[in-house]
Each structure stands twice: as C-alpha cells, then as structure tokens.
C-alpha cells in the first residue's frame, strides 16, 4: 500500500478546494432558501412580492440555486475530499484541473444568475424550449457543466493513479463510489450539453431560427433523471461507507455496496421517458420499455435499505440489544452525524414509494405536473439528500478547517434535523395531498376565477407556507452551524470517518473495476432505449419552433 492511502487526514491543499466548493454551496442554500420561503408565502395568497419582482423569477432562482448549484458544488467538494482521503492526496496536476473546474463552474453560475436577475431568463431551471432565455444564461449553464467535468477529471486521475500503484487490488470503497457517480454524471450531462450547445445556444444567438422542442426535451430528460441519482449517490456513499464507522459498526458487505452502485450507473440513464409519459410524439411501447428499465433501479435501492438496517441491527445486538427491535434504541441518537442523515434515510422510504407511483406509466397521469411532484422531490432531494449533506458537513467542514464540532453545535444540529423534518412534513405532505386534488406545480397564487376546485386547494397552500417558514428556520440554523464550523469553532481534530467491511477476507471481485465492461453495457442500454425513438423523432419532426419570451422585463 502506498503511504498516501494510510493518511487519515485530507491534505490541507485538497481541503481548501473542497471548502471553496462548500462556500458556494451554502451561499446558494441561503439565497435559494429565502426564495423558497417567498414562494410558499406568495402561494398562500396572503403576501405579494414587492418592487415588481416576479414569482417565476424567484422560482427560477430557487430551482437553479438548489437543484443545480448547491448540489453540484457540494457533491464535487465532498467527492474530491473523499477521494483524497481514501485514494491519496491529489497530484498538483489534478488539483490544478479541479481548481479550474471550480472557477469555471462559479463563473457559469454568476453568468446564469445575472441573466435571471435581469429578467432575461425566467425559464425555470428546466429551461424548456421554446421559452427563449438570453444566450448568456445558456452559456453560463454550459460553464457549470464543463467545470463539473474538470472537477470530475481530477477525481478520476487520482483514482487511476491508485489503481496503477495497487495492481490487482479493489480500490477503496469511497473512491470507487465517487468515481461511479462522476462517470454517471459525465455520461448523463452529454445530453443536456448537446441540447444547449447544438440547439439552444445557436438559437438564442440568432444563428438558427427554430428549435425542435421534443428533441430538446428528450435530451434534457436523458440528463434529468440521472441528475437526481447524481444527487442521491453521495448520500448513499455516506449511508453505506461512513455511517457504519460513525455508529461504531461495520459495512455489511463491501462487494454488494459496489454492485449496487454499478446497477445505478447502468439503470439511471436509459429511463428519461418516465418524465415524458404524457407527452405527444413518443410511442407508448418505448415509454413502457423505459418504465421497465426505471424499475430496475429500485433493486439497488432495496439492497441499500437491507444493508443499512443490517448494519444497524448487528451493531445494536453487539451492544447487547435483544428482541426484534431492541437494537433501534441503542443507536447513537445523540450524535448529529448519525441522527441527521438517519432522518434523511427514513424519509427515503415514503419518498421512494412516491417515485414508483410517478414512474408507473399511465398512473403518471394522476400526478404529472401537479404539486404532488414538487412534494415528491422535496422528500427525496430536499430531505433525504440534503439532510445527509448536512450530516456530512458536521464532520467534514471541521475536519477540513482543523476545528471541532462542539457539544452545543452537535445539539443544535440535531434540533436542525428535526426542525427540517417537521417543516417538510407540513410542506411536502400538503403538496402531495393538493397534487392528488389536481393542484398544479410551478404556479403563482390563483383562484382560477373562484373555481370551487381551486378554492379547495388554498388550505393546503397555507399549510405549505407554514412548512416553508419552519424550513426557513431550519436554513438559518444550518447556516449558523456551517459558519461556526468554518470560522469560529475551537481548533482541534475532527475525524473523517471511513467504514470497514465486516468481512475483510472477502475481497470485492475485480470485475467491478472493469470500466470497459460497465461503460460498454451502459452505452448499449442507452442505445437500446433511445436509438429508435430518436430516429422517429427526427424523421417525423414537425416544423421547428421560434423562440418566445412570455415573461415581463424590468
């Protein structure tokens, strides 16, 4: 083993880069959170935005900051640190590439944000054509993506170096997982990069007059579903490989953890049609095929659930817990590093079940584009994923800044987790119920001409504002903790926990590191799911669409 791999501390030079990512991520959280609060208040019907600010403008800010900026920056920072911790300090070349990536992403974010603030891009974070934003908005998004590729390249370089130095050995689990997520991200972003570079940018620059809407949407959703797994997998990294160490237990099975990540790589991408189930122009047989592929991705989630609870139960029993559920009580509930991600994990049970409903072919008609969907991804992304990210920050930020998570901050962090959970029960719960009654998502307050049906939705919208206000309190708490851990907490050593497998004799099969094989199968599945529908779309394309700017200017 090389000396670097035994290092227990992330090199300060790598730590600095990871922290740079976290600063941007938490600024995005602060601003995006404020926008979220304003949205729920507007939609309650009790509050109007001042100074000519448009509801859809703040909705765009919220979506872009929370869905694209917070997540991408946090994930890249976390994975960069995790690879440094487990596969060794990044080389100067890798670190330089990652810094360039960071600055390119930041520049892209500023470009896109400026256009949104100038009301040149009130197109929401999905920017569906033929709504036409300013070209600087699209170029900014391109920079965010290209920057993330550079960030990912640094991780891949360090992983490749480890493999070269350790022939015939399975790579460290956390590094392996980070690389799977990076590879999935690169393959997935090819779709959105294609529509932005070849369709939306030339069109917004006036080089071409029209855009093919269905192809653009299909390329977007080729990216849009793996995007949500890109958010989720870092949370799974924490659940699989870090939480066992925090509670003092062992990873249930290193090999099965790797297998589940490979299944995510294979089945996250060829499934975008389940976001397009009610769209014209796509044959229902192909939609159903992608629904079947979508359901495959549930298998690794079932494996994950089993492993986590097996780890918890074994740990509990080793502490002398008896009975069917006695182990549950002895888990370290007073440790925020465990409890906060645990709330996230538990939320994933209803969240995942809701996802199965959404993806169920024609059943999607019941909920498509209703606020049920918003409720769904506020459970998955904004609870399971985000609470796990918070839980990671509670040890990673002090680890990188050379500080300690104090008892007081630990307590505040646990309070933060429960505040978030309660806020989300109100907000996401009300969204789910209102969605079942037909209430649309992404809409400002409206009584639709005092329609009896729309009036029934208003109590749910008030509940969402209550939930949104509680959640905003949660955002204030996490920001206090983050700033404390970054700048004010007492100096000290905080551990970067890395779990060990229960059975160290059992080595992960080397076939898991055979990238030609897994990338080959990934490519085959994508070609299988998309080639014929894509040819159909091109051959039967209607006349293209001109751009529209259907929102007001300043």
């Amino acid at each position: 083993m090389s000396s670097q791999t035994t290092k227990l501390k992330v090199d300060p030079r790598d730590g600095k880069l990871a922290m740079a990512h976290f600063y941007v991520a938490f600024i995005a959280l602060a601003l995006g959170g404020l926008m979220g609060l304003l949205q729920t208040l507007v939609r309650s019907g009790k509050f109007e935005l001042p100074w000519g600010i448009d509801y859809y403008q703040i909705l765009t800010v919220h979506g872009v900051l929370m869905g694209l900026v917070l997540t991408t920056f946090f994930i890249m920072g976390f994975q960069y640190a995790a690879v440094s911790r487990t596969a060794g300090t990044h080389s100067p070349a890798a670190r330089r590439i990652a810094w360039i990536g960071f600055w390119v992403m930041t520049l892209g974010t500023v470009m896109a944000a400026t256009m949104v603030l100038l009301k040149e891009a009130s197109v929401l974070y999905t920017f569906y054509a033929p709504l036409k934003a300013h070209w600087i908005f699209y170029l900014g998004l391109t920079f965010v993506i290209v920057g993330s590729w550079l960030d990912g390249a640094a991780q891949i370089m360090t992983y490749a170096r480890w493999r070269k130095e350790n022939p015939g050995k399975p790579s460290p689990l956390l590094s392996f997982m980070a690389i799977i997520n990076t590879v999935m991200w690169i393959v997935a972003t090819l779709g959105v990069a294609s529509t932005v570079l070849f369709q939306l940018l030339p069109w917004s620059l006036g080089i071409v007059d029209t855009v093919d809407v269905l192809i653009s949407r299909t390329l977007f959703w080729y990216f849009g579903h793996p995007l949500v797994y890109f958010w989720l997998l870092p949370a799974y990294m924490c659940w699989y490989a870090i939480i066992p160490k925090i509670i003092g237990g062992k990873i249930f099975s290193d090999s099965l953890a790797r297998l589940s990540f490979i299944l995510f790589l294979l089945f996250s991408i060829p499934v975008g049609f389940h976001h397009q189930l009610t769209e014209p122009g796509i044959d229902p047989a192909w939609k159903f095929l992608q629904v079947v592929l979508t359901f495959m991705v549930i298998v690794p989630s079932l494996m994950t659930a089993f492993s986590l609870f097996a780890t918890f139960e074994r740990y509990g029993r080793s502490k002398g817990a008896t009975g069917l559920f006695g182990w549950f009580k002895v888990l370290p509930w007073k440790d925020a590093r465990f409890t906060v991600p645990f709330i996230g994990m538990a939320s994933f049970i209803p969240a995942g079940a809701g996802g199965i409903i959404n993806a169920s072919n024609q059943m999607n008609q019941v909920v498509h584009n209703t606020i049920w969907v918003t409720g769904h991804f506020h459970l998955t992304a904004a609870t399971s994923v985000v609470l796990t990210f918070f839980g990671i920050s509670y040890w990673l930020v002090p680890h990188l800044t050379g500080r300690k998570l104090t008892k007081a901050m630990n307590k505040l962090a646990i309070i933060q987790g429960w505040v978030w959970f309660i806020g989300m029960v109100f907000m996401s719960g009300a969204m789910h119920f209102q969605g079942l009654l037909g209430g649309p998502r992404r809409s400002a307050f409206s009584t639709y001409g005092d329609s009896a049906q729309a009036l029934e939705w208003i109590p749910y919208q008030i509940a969402q504002a209550v939930g949104g206000s509680i959640l905003f309190l949660g955002i204030i708490l996490i920001l206090i903790i983050f700033v404390n851990l970054a700048f004010f907490a007492p100096k000290g050593e905080e551990e970067f926990p890395v779990g060990e497998a229960e059975n160290l004799e059992e080595k992960a099969p080397m076939i898991f590191e055979n990238w030609k094989l897994w990338l080959g199968i990934t490519a085959l599945l994508i070609l299988f799911a998309y080639t014929i529908p894509f040819i159909d779309m091109i051959q039967n394309a209607p006349p293209g669409s001109e751009g529209f700017k259907t929102w007001g200017s300043w």
Binding site: D54, S122, R442
Partner: protein
Amino acid sequence: MHIHKFEKIWLIFGVGALVVFLSVVGVSAFYLGNKPPSCLTTIDPKKVDTEAPFDKPGLNKVEGKEWDYELVYVASAFLYNPGEVEVPLGAKVKVIATTKDVVHGFQVAGTNINMMLEPGYVNEIVTTFDKEGEYLVVCNEYCGTGHHLMSSKIKVVK
C-alpha cells in the same frame, strides 16, 4: 461474492413486487387500452388556426367513430380556446389539443385527463364524463407570467 440468506429473501420479495407492479401497469396499458397520451400526429404550429380540427375549437358531434364527440382545444399563452364548454353527462369524448406557442399543460382537475401540449404536436385522450359538475382545466406546465391564470371550464350537464 456472498449474499446473506435474508438479503436473498428480501430481494426476491422486492423484485417479485416490482414484477407484479409492472405487469399490472402493462396489462392495463396495452390490453385494456389505458396508454398514456402519446399522439404521434404533427402540425405546423403557425398554421394551427386554419387546420382541421383546430379551425373549429369546442365540442363537435362526430359519427361512425368509437367516441360520440370531439372536444377540440387550442392553447396559447395564456388561454385555452374554448374558455368554457358544456358536455352531456355520460358522453364518450375524445379530447384533442395543441399549442400555438410554448409548451403548455392540459389537466382537468379531479380526473385522469392530464397531458402535455407541445408546439408541432397534437395530443389526445379518450374519456367518458360520467360525473356531473363543473371541472377546472388548468395549465400545469410553466408557460410565462400569466401561467397561473390560464384555465378553462368543462361543465358536465344532464
């Protein structure tokens, strides 16, 4: 690679449940005809007003088809044409719609009628209005400043 016995049982149970779910959904879609709206007809978005059936928006009685009426909608920012329509109770209706500009949604709240309208494409769904009352049609895909004002009404009457 070793898989624990309990995990095998759990996965067999889980995958079995998924197979059941998919079979139910698949049989309902392809055998019982409940496919999601997936019309393949295209149209020039600039000529919507002059092309049949969109030159006559509203409820039109038809003969010799599997449905009794065709209910035709033209969507544009931020309105549906027609803005209000009466449908006889129990009528089997094919709803046909398209958009003249950006992407819109078409959802009849409280029913399973929910489809995307995209420029260049016609979308359709066949349904039976078997409950009396007033139904709100809402746009559920963001289309601009007036998105939350875009609606229409279907009155199902005896």
